[in-house]
C-alpha cells in the first residue's frame, strides 16, 4: 500500500463451538452428514417448538472469553429478524446488547495488543446451495437448503479496529485460531467453515484523522485471502478517494479467483433486524463459581506455551531465530508438551525442539496421540549415542505407524542395535591400519580427516555406528 495512506482493520470472527449437540436442541453438531438428517422440530423452526440453551456451549463460550481476557457477565438473547430460506425461524437467536464476554484483548506473538470488543453467542443458519451457472442466488435455477447446520452454536468474536497492516490481521486470525483450538472451544477449520472471518477495512491519511468510511468484506476462507482482500480493498478505497469520490459504507464479497471485492449491499438497503429480547429464553447469568470452574479447566494458551519453550531455550544458553520459528511450529501443532517432557527427562533442549519441529511435526496428528514416554525414550537413546540421527528418525516413523511402542525394541527389530564399544574400537583400529598416511596427518593436527575416518567406519558398519562415538574413539587414540 502507498506509504502516504494508513489502514485501519477490525475483524469479526465466527467460530463454531465443538459441542456434541446444537445450541438449542439435542441434534448432533456434525459436519458433513447427509443433508437434513441432524434436524428436529426445533432447528427446523416448526410451529410450537421452543429453544433450550445448551450448557456445554455456554461453557465453551466462557472458555473463549476467559482465554481472551474478557469480562464474563450476565447476558441475554435477542431475536435478529430477517427472511432467508436457510434461517429456519426467519429469525436468528443471538446475543445483542448484553453479550456474555466483553472488553478483552489478544496479544499477537510480536507483542502487539488487539482489543476484543465482545465475544457473543448465537446460532448458525442452515446452508443454501444455489443450483445454476452462477452459484449465487441471482440466476439460480433452484436452491437446496440443508438444515444440519441450523442451530449449531457459534461465538462471534469482534475485535476493536486496532490492526494497521494486513500482516497484523493475518497474525490475529492465526493466533485467535490457535487460542480457539487450545481452549477446546473449536476446531478452527477455516476450510470447513467452522471459523469464518469478516474484515472491516477503512483508510485515512494520518493517525490524527478520524477513521474513514469502512467496508465489510465477507467470504474470506483462508488467512491468505484475508490478507489479499484487505490489500485489494485498501487500494480500491484509496483510488476512490484520490479520484475525488467517496467510499460508500458497504458489505462487499471477496471473489477469490478474480482477486477483487464486489458490492453486496450498501448501508441504505441494510436490513432492519428489529432486534428484541427473545421471549422464549431467560437471561443467562453465570455465577462466579461457574466462571471459575470454566477457567480452572482451561489449559495453557499458545502465548504462554511459547514462552515456556523460549525460557527452556534461555536456560540452555539462548534461542536462535531458527529455534524461535521451531517454537512457533511446535506450539501451533500442539506438540510442545513433548518438548517439555523430553527436556525434563534430561534431553537437550535444542535436540528435543529440533526433533519435534522437524520430525514429529511431519505427522502431528500421530505425534499428539503418541505416548510421551516413548517419544522421550527415543530422544534419550539418540542423545546417549545409542542411535544415530538417521536411525532415530526411522524409529520415530515406526512409532507413528504402530501408534506407540518401545523405541529400543523397535531399534533392535530394525537391526539398529548400537555397536558395542569393543567392536567399534576394533572397526576404528582396522580403518587406521588400512590408512596409515591419513592417520599420521590426522595426528599431526589435520582435523578434517576425522570425517574421512568416520566415513570409513560408517561404510564398514553400514551406518550403524554412532558418529559421535567414532569421533570420541578417534580422539582417544590420537591421545
Amino acid at each position: 500500500m502507498r506509504s502516504d495512506w494508513l489502514l485501519v482493520i477490525g475483524l469479526e470472527v465466527h467460530c463454531e463451538l465443538k459441542t456434541t449437540t446444537k445450541l438449542f436442541c439435542g441434534c448432533p453438531n456434525m459436519f458433513g452428514d447427509e443433508p437434513n438428517t441432524n434436524v428436529c422440530p426445533n432447528c427446523l423452526g416448526l410451529p410450537g417448538s421452543l429453544p433450550v440453551l445448551n450448557q456445554r456451549a455456554v461453557e465453551l463460550a466462557m472458555a473463549i472469553g476467559t482465554a481472551l481476557h474478557c469480562d464474563i457477565r450476565a447476558s441475554t438473547f435477542h431475536r435478529k429478524n430477517y427472511f432467508y430460506p436457510d434461517q429456519a425461524k426467519d429469525y436468528q437467536i443471538s446475543q445483542y446488547d448484553e453479550p456474555l464476554n466483553v472488553d478483552g484483548y489478544l496479544d499477537l506473538p510480536d507483542g502487539f495488543r488487539v482489543g476484543i470488543e465482545r465475544a457473543h453467542m448465537e446460532e448458525d443458519t442452515g446452508k443454501t446451495t444455489h443450483a445454476g451457472a452462477s452459484g449465487r442466488i441471482h440466476g439460480a435455477d433452484y436452491s437446496l437448503v440443508d438444515y444440519n447446520r441450523s442451530g449449531v452454536p457459534l461465538v462471534e468474536i469482534v475485535s476493536e479496529p486496532d490492526m494497521r497492516t494486513p500482516d497484523q490481521a493475518r497474525a490475529y486470525v492465526t493466533e485467535l485460531r490457535a487460542i480457539l483450538v487450545a481452549s477446546g472451544a473449536s476446531d478452527g477449520k477455516m476450510e470447513e467453515g467452522s471459523m469464518r472471518v469478516d474484515a472491516n477495512v477503512s483508510v485515512r491519511r494520518s493517525v490524527d484523522d478520524p477513521f474513514g468510511t469502512r467496508c465489510e468484506i465477507k467470504n474470506l476462507n483462508s488467512v491468505r485471502s484475508l490478507g489479499r482482500a484487505i490489500e485489494y480493498e485498501a487500494e480500491r478505497q484509496i483510488a476512490l478517494i484520490e479520484s475525488g469520490e467517496r467510499v460508500v459504507q458497504q458489505t462487499r464479497h471477496w471473489d477469490e479467483s478474480a482477486g477483487r471485492t464486489q458490492a453486496l449491499r450498501s448501508k441504505e438497503d441494510a436490513y432492519d433486524y428489529r432486534y428484541f429480547l427473545e421471549p422464549d429464553l431467560v437471561p443467562l447469568v453465570p455465577d462466579a463459581e461457574w466462571i471459575r470452574a470454566v477457567a480452572d479447566t482451561l489449559g495453557m494458551m499458545p502465548a504462554e506455551r511459547r514462552s515456556r519453550l523460549v525460557s527452556l531455550l534461555d536456560d540452555a544458553g539462548g534461542a536462535t531465530e531458527a529455534q524461535l520459528l521451531q517454537v512457533a511450529t511446535v506450539v501451533d501443532l500442539g506438540l510442545d508438551d513433548l518438548v517439555v517432557e523430553a527436556v525434563a527427562a534430561g534431553v537437550g533442549t535444542g535436540l528435543a525442539l529440533a526433533r519435534t519441529a522437524n520430525e514429529a511435526a511431519t505427522d502431528a496428528e500421530a505425534a499428539r496421540h503418541l505416548d510421551p514416554k516413548s517419544y522421550v525414550a527415543l530422544l534419550t537413546l539418540e542423545m546417549q549415542g545409542s542411535l544415530s540421527a538417521t536411525q532415530a528418525k526411522a524409529v520415530l516413523a515406526e512409532l507413528f505407524a504402530r501408534g506407540g511402542g518401545d523405541p529400543a525394541t523397535i531399534a533392535r527389530d530394525k537391526g539398529f542395535e548400537a555397536m558395542s564399544e569393543d567392536s567399534l574400537a576394533e572397526t576404528v583400529a582396522d580403518a587406521i591400519a588400512a590408512h596409515p598416511d591419513e592417520w599420521s596427518r590426522f595426528c599431526g593436527g589435520d582435523d578434517k580427516l576425522a570425517g574421512f575416518f568416520t566415513g570409513l567406519v560408517m561404510k564398514a558398519t553400514r551406518g550403524q555406528a554412532n558418529g559421535k562415538a567414532v569421533a570420541a574413539e578417534l580422539r582417544r587414540l590420537r591421545g
Partner: protein, 488 residues
C-alpha cells in the same frame, strides 16, 4: 334434559370400572354428531384416534391398572396445540394440512392422565381475535344463541364444553382468549400463572403472554384439568421449576377471612347488567365471610394499548417462519422472495396481516423506543400496580368481559371495538398473573355473564378456592339451546 356428567365423576367411574371410556366417548361423539353442524366448534373430530385411546383406557382398567386422574374423559384441544400426525392448523390456510411430528407437552400429559383427545377446536386465526370470526374455516357459534359469537380466540373450545361436546377442553390465553369465550359461553375458563403450564407445542402467538389453560363445566372440573397439565417442563425454558400444582384439594376451603377487592377500573366500561352481576358475586363472597372492598389499580387502563404493541411485536417475529419454504402452504412464484410474499399474502387472513404489519412497525428502527419499549415500561407499571393491590387483597374481582356475547358480524369490521372485548382480561397476561372466569347467571338478554377473579403470581390455589364459592352462589343459567347431551 339432565346436566352432563362432571369430568370428576366420569373419571372416578371409569377408574372404578363402573363406566366404559368407550361408552363415554361414543356418547360425546353422538352429541357432536347432533350439534356440531349448528355450532362448528371443531376443525377436526379425531374419532378414530379417540376410540383407540378410549379402548386403551378400558383395557388398562380391565387389567387392574389405573389410567390416571382423567381416565376416559374426552378433552377437546384448541387447534394451536401440536398433535403428532394430526393436522394442526391454527385455523389458518397457511398451516392447512400440516401434521406436526410431535405432541405438545400438554397433549402428552393428558394422555398420561388417561384423557381421550376428541378433536381440534376452531379458533381465531393464530389466536388473533375475540370471536372466532377470523378463522379461515368458518365462525364458531355460541351454543346459547347461534346468532352470537362464542368469543375468542378459543371460541371452539368454549363452545365445545358449553354444548356438551366434551366435558373438558384446552385453550390458550394471550390477552383473554380463554376467559373471554368462557364468559360468553357460560363455562369456567382459567389462565394460569405464566410459566405454570408448558408452552412446548403451543404454536406461538405472543410468547411472553401465551399460556395454556383449562375450560370446564365447573370449577372442580377445571381444577382437575389444571392439575393434570401443570408443572415444570424442561422443554420450555420459561417453565417455572416448581412442583406440579394441586388445586383440586382446596376447593372446599372457603373464603372466610380473605380480602376481595372489586377492581373498579374493570367495571368502568362494563354494561350495567354485567356490572350488577359482579356486585352480586361480591355480596355472595361477603356473605361467605370475605371482606370486600373497592380497589383501584389505575395502571390497568393502560393495558390494552400496551398489549396491542407487545403482542403484535412478538407475533410479527413468531409468524415469520410461515414462508412457504419448509411446511404448510406454498404459492409458487418466480423467485424465493416472490414465493414468500405470495404464500403469506394468500395464506394469512386480514387480522393476522394487520397485526404482523403493526408488530413489524413497532419493532422498526426509529420507532421501537416510542412504541415497543414504552409498552414494556407500561407492563412494569401494571405489575407494580397489581403488587400494591395484592398487598391488601388476596384476590381481585371484576367482569370478564364488558358485555355478554355479541352478534356474529357486529364487530368484525371494526377492529378497535373488537379489541375492547379483551380490556378486562389483558392486564393479567401483561402481569403474568393467573385469573379465572366463572359463570354468574344470565345478563338482561338471558346470555351468560362471567365474573373474573384475579390473583398474584402462583395464587391458583386461592383463585380456585374463591371461584368455588362464587360458583356455589351463582344464579342458574338456562341450558344451551343446542345441547342434546346428558350423562353417558
Amino acid at each position: 334434559m339432565t346436566a352432563p356428567r362432571p369430568a370428576l365423576e366420569t373419571a372416578a367411574m371409569v377408574r372404578a370400572g363402573e363406566l366404559s371410556a368407550v361408552d363415554v366417548l361414543e356418547h360425546h361423539l353422538a352429541v357432536i354428531e347432533a350439534g356440531e353442524e349448528a355450532v362448528h366448534a371443531f376443525n377436526l373430530v379425531t374419532a378414530d384416534q379417540a376410540r383407540a385411546q378410549a379402548r386403551a383406557v378400558d383395557a388398562t382398567v380391565a387389567a387392574g391398572g389405573d389410567p390416571g386422574p382423567l381416565a376416559g374423559v374426552p378433552v377437546a384441544l384448541k387447534d394451536n396445540l401440536c398433535t403428532r400426525g394430526i393436522p394442526t392448523t391454527c385455523s389458518s390456510r397457511i398451516l392447512e394440512g400440516w401434521e406436526p411430528p410431535y405432541d405438545a407437552t400438554v397433549v402428552t400429559r393428558l394422555a398420561a392422565a388417561g384423557a381421550v383427545a376428541i378433536g381440534k377446536t376452531n379458533m381465531d386465526e393464530f389466536a388473533m381475535g375475540s370471536s372466532t370470526e377470523t378463522s379461515a374455516f368458518g365462525t364458531t357459534r355460541n351454543p346459547h344463541d347461534t346468532d352470537r359469537v362464542p368469543g375468542g380466540s378459543s371460541g371452539g373450545s368454549a363452545a365445545a364444553v358449553a354444548a356438551g361436546f366434551a366435558p373438558l377442553a384446552l385453550g390458550s390465553d394471550t390477552g383473554g382468549s380463554i376467559r373471554q369465550p368462557a364468559a360468553l359461553c357460560g363455562v369456567v375458563g382459567m389462565k394460569p400463572t405464566y410459566g405454570t403450564v408448558s408452552r412446548y407445542g403451543l404454536v406461538a402467538f405472543a410468547s411472553s403472554l401465551d399460556q395454556i389453560g383449562p375450560f370446564a363445566g365447573s370449577v372442580a372440573d377445571a381444577a382437575l384439568l389444571f392439575d393434570a397439565i401443570g408443572g415444570h417442563d424442561p422443554l420450555d425454558s420459561t417453565s417455572l421449576n416448581r412442583p406440579t400444582p394441586r388445586v383440586l384439594t382446596v376447593l372446599d376451603d372457603g373464603v372466610d377471612g380473605m380480602t376481595v377487592g372489586i377492581l373498579t377500573e374493570l367495571l368502568d366500561g362494563a354494561a350495567p347488567d354485567v356490572a350488577a352481576r359482579v356486585h352480586q358475586a361480591a355480596e355472595a363472597l361477603a356473605a361467605a365471610g370475605a371482606r370486600v372492598e373497592e380497589v383501584s389499580v389505575p395502571e390497568v387502563t393502560l393495558g390494552l394499548s400496551a398489549y396491542y404493541l407487545i403482542a403484535p411485536g412478538e407475533a410479527s417475529s413468531n409468524l415469520a417462519r410461515y414462508d412457504g419454504v419448509r411446511y404448510g402452504l406454498r404459492v409458487d412464484a418466480e423467485d424465493t422472495v416472490a414465493m414468500n410474499t405470495a404464500t403469506r399474502s394468500q395464506g394469512f387472513g386480514a387480522e393476522v396481516k394487520r397485526r404482523i404489519m403493526l408488530g413489524t412497525y413497532v419493532l422498526s428502527a426509529g420507532y421501537m423506543d416510542a412504541y415497543y419499549n414504552q409498552a414494556l415500561r407500561v407492563r412494569t407499571r401494571i405489575i407494580e400496580g397489581f403488587d400494591t393491590a395484592y398487598s391488601r387483597c388476596d384476590v381481585l374481582l371484576g367482569p370478564t368481559t364488558p358485555t355478554t356475547a355479541f352478534a356474529i358480524g357486529a364487530k368484525v369490521d371494526d377492529p378497535l371495538t373488537m379489541y375492547l372485548s379483551d380490556v378486562c382480561t389483558i392486564p393479567s397476561n401483561l402481569a403474568g398473573h393467573p385469573a379465572i372466569s366463572v359463570p354468574y347467571g344470565p345478563g338482561e338478554d338471558g346470555l351468560p355473564v362471567g365474573v373474573q377473579l384475579l390473583g398474584p403470581a402462583l395464587s391458583e390455589g386461592t383463585l380456585f378456592q374463591v371461584a368455588a364459592v362464587v360458583e356455589g352462589a351463582a344464579p342458574p343459567l338456562a341450558a344451551p339451546r343446542v345441547t342434546t347431551g346428558g350423562p353417558a
